[in-house]
Symmetry: C2
Subunit: 208 residues, 2 copies
């Protein structure tokens, strides 16, 4: 079981091939969004992108690489939004800061809820198969940095781990809401914020 690479096989340097790569990634998004995982195969992606499978494999070494490219694109959008939110939140008390992060994450995930949910799922599969290929590392770093400001009111010692846990909690609650169809953003934001705040400041038996 040797490590499979999922980096793009080669970067498109000419404008035309750049458009090809872009078309392939967006075709992946649309197929995952409308057909789900069961409709997601390389021939369908190539078809929808208007190229042959051979071309697809010229840029992506395997099927997972399509997901990684798409996830990276979406994670970058989330990362930028969260970075912005974190900067604005820096002057708020912890609860307000968490609420703002929750608000931002929810807003982004609900922009394309079905896509977001499938990607959350696929990212977990990739992590399951190769833990060190985590796509949320940057985001976790930013969250940890924000948390450090509030160390005085936080009961948890390991803020790196806490950042990952908060992301896992938010993801779980957002995906559950999408599954149930209960996506009223304010209510969802409240649930995420309360869980996060409880995790960080709850008096229930501390220890890490």
């Amino acid at each position: 079981m040797t490590r499979a690479r999922t980096r793009p096989r080669k970067s498109p340097s000419q404008p035309r091939s750049e458009r090809t790569v872009e078309a392939i990634v967006e075709a992946t998004a649309r197929i995952l969004e409308t057909q789900g995982l069961s409709g997601f195969n390389t021939n369908a992606v190539a078809d929808k992108a208007g190229v042959s499978v051979g071309s697809l494999y010229q840029y992506f070494p395997n099927k997972d690489a399509l997901v990684v490219a798409l996830s990276t694109r979406e994670r970058a959008l989330l990362g930028v939004a969260l970075g912005e939110a974190a900067r604005q939140a820096a002057s708020l008390p912890l609860e307000g800061a968490l609420r703002r992060l929750a608000h931002t994450a929810i807003h982004r995930q609900l922009a394309r809820p079905d896509l977001a949910r499938v990607l959350d799922f696929e990212e977990q599969r990739l992590v399951l198969e190769e833990p060190d290929r985590a796509l949320t590392r940057d985001i976790a770093g930013n969250v940890a940095t924000l948390l450090r400001r509030y160390r005085a009111v936080i009961q948890v010692a390991d803020l790196e781990a806490a950042a990952y846990d908060l992301i896992a909690i938010a993801r779980a609650l957002i995906d559950a809401a999408v599954l149930r169809g209960q996506v009223e953003p304010v209510a969802l934001e409240g649930r995420v914020t309360r869980a996060a705040l409880g995790y960080l400041t709850g008096r229930a038996n501390v220890a890490s």
Copy 2:
């Protein structure tokens, strides 16, 4: 995309075939545990169970049915343990009750942590493909029943949804802990309990 059935194709009535089915399910568990999803294929399962693929398909209509059978078995164990815990927790205040449930869930998941994590993952895939086939329905019902006792101190209106959310939170935190290798049970129990308690009783902007 018609609904694929995952129920066992036929119940083994004779002792011999009962042992065959049992062997197939346990072979599934051991392969998932040791090789992960990438080593999980029907021929490998049949081999390890000491039967031919044909025999496997006599009892299980498809590959997913193997996972469903195994998950059902494991969920039943968790369900029994949680039912017992809920009965004992009935006299405790909310925090103690949540802690006891967390303790029980953690204990069961850590009995075979790698298997539990892969099964959590596979269950989410099955839910993603067929939402109404949820394996956690019974467990959620029991949790909701317990929550009703504490309605006075709980800020959340929809206790059914809350039960599913709490399960999702616990699952996310336990799986994240296994991934990081931070499985110190008391600390993990504290994290799950604090998040759950915050979710249910936190003062952060209520609304559902």
